[in-house]
Amino acid sequence: MSVVSKSPADPPDGPAEAVVVTVGESAAVAVEAETTAESAPTPVDRTLPDEAAPVEALVLGAVEEAGDGPAAVTQYLNQYVASGGDWDEVVAAQRERGDETFVVNMGPQHPSTHGVLRLELELEGETVSSIRPAIGFLHSGIEKSMEYKSFAQGSVFATRMDYVAPMFNEVVYCLAVEKLLDLEVPPRADVLRVLVMELNRIASHLVAIGTGGMEIGALTVMTIGFREREMILDFFEALCGTRMNHAYVRPGGVSIDLPESGLSQLRTVIEWLHKHLPEYAGFCNQNPIFKGRMQGVAQLDLTACMALGVSGPPLRAAGYPWDLRQDQPYCGYQDYDFDVITWDTADAYGRFRVRQQEMWESLRIVEQCYDKLESSVGQPVMVDDPRFAWPGDLTVGPDGQGNSLAHVKQIMGSSMEALIQHFKTVTEGFHVPGGQVYQAVESSKGELGCHLVSDGGSRPYRVHFRDPGFNHLQAVPALCEGGMMSDVVVAVASLDPVLGGVDR
């Protein structure tokens, strides 16, 4: 955490120039200039006292070592100097000055920022007078990397974006590819997609509610949230072998059918959730501390939601029943019976209640998926077209998941053409006709979009993901400015951003 403090040497109404020097392990230096509103248009001298002195010399410790003292430096520069340091010393220095303005960097390593989000707060006492979110610390070039991989490999990259809700990433990408191919996936694959998406929605909402509760001190909500999530992740592991980074949904269908014990394990998960989901209402809904921290906090009404492009639970908590699953259905959502949950308070508590109710609606859909899966055992889960379907009929053998023995026998023993086909599909991949599409799904956080451009080759020409968290973080100043500093964590948690998706 680094702090900018005002120097007593500054004239009260003179031009004020702030230089924020953030000192981290990487010695990254961020410089921000800011001029007060009343400042005269006098040009501010930004030159350092000694041109040869490096910027690092402004770091408090370094200046002190030089026997100069920070006050002297700031007086000379007419600037605010910021650095990290011992909090008690910072507070003592601030007390001497007697003014209430603090600039605080929250993050990027702050535990309440859901990853690596940096919030630059300007505080008047405990009131937030300005807040600016800074992102990009988890940027991993996923969109660029996908341009160098085949369409089938794209699923592996997409799943790593929003790692709390990976199934939505995979589905939106695969739907976009299938739209360009005009490909229809088998009904059982659609059911499996809906199943994993809705289970993932519950898991993601559990993380949102759990970590959001933890940040206001309700640690039990987090521990029980992760307990239920664990059941869902165990099911995913049984289904496709991984707890995250699944790459389960592939263009043309899904990678593998339910295992033999899949339906019974799904039944266990459903029963477990039925038993334990009511606990969240019992713990939180009428809890006076919970309500006191969340009610009326981080309000964003419908007008603001529209202006800022907010979607998902924050929009529905403002009372607008917009849900792409019903309004622009995909994966056969029109065949499922569920309600769109809304709330009328447009605050953090409303978003919590919307998420909580949505878990029940998702559970309803999961139960309908169970029935559909039960009645469609044995039907294909990958499109019956050797041009697009991943070859090899993945199965689980004694040594783990892999190509089925029958397939290996065929390509190695009897059919050279099948071997070539397998080889070509795996190395070169299939070609997707040129064009561009935009596909959107309702992820647990809001509208997740995929803009996919193909030039006619076997790799995406351009993929862009519109992550809901990216859009929602724009709304942080609208949520927090004028509020209390303690409400910042509540506001950010109520938006439920996952920085892997925000930064991609």
């Binding site: 492009g309 070539i420 599409v437 979009g449």
Partner: protein
Amino acid sequence: MTTTTSDAITAPADDQSLAVSQGMWGAGPGDVSGFGGQRHPVWRQQPTPRPYGGWFDAAVDRLAELVEGLDPDGASLAHGELTIPVPKELLLAVARAARDDPALRFEVCVSVSGVHYPDDPGRELRSVYHLLSITHNRRLRLEVAAGQDDPKIPSVTAVYPMADWHERETWDMFGIEYTGHPGLTRILMPDDWAGHPQRKDYPLGGVPIEFKGAQAPPPDQRRSY
């Protein structure tokens, strides 16, 4: 696998395609080795002849009526999605009309993304706006082109405030300068980064991967399809 015939393979860039993409692998006629030297024409967006069907005709006509100079026949319809190419000087008028007209009402600019077509001289950079009408439950796409030498496109933040960060990202990744943006700074890359990484000509900067007795080249120099 590939449907291109040998004639199509050798065809140069024309109105239908931007260029010919060349790769090392592919099944040419009679080739089973996989080293056929696969090539394919690079897709170029074409206007779709009228009528488009559905609500599209009325929407395009209304937009052309409200914005003088907008070509009513330039739109392209594919996969049930309409893309309207908009000259950059008309972008703000089109966006405002699309947002405010009761028959259009595209209230939300869901996303802005850039695309780089280095083979399209004078129109290399594209800024693509995905609009959503919650009132009518429709989607529309606007595509604005800018040359790499003069990558300036007016910012739509005055019409769609939610496009703020999206335009910053597209500036960061593609170097499209959105004039009139309130604070066009880098958002994903560090402030002092040089270049715009999502452009096709941006070097990947990979290093060879060493194996015992062999080396794999960086990704942009490996075999390509």
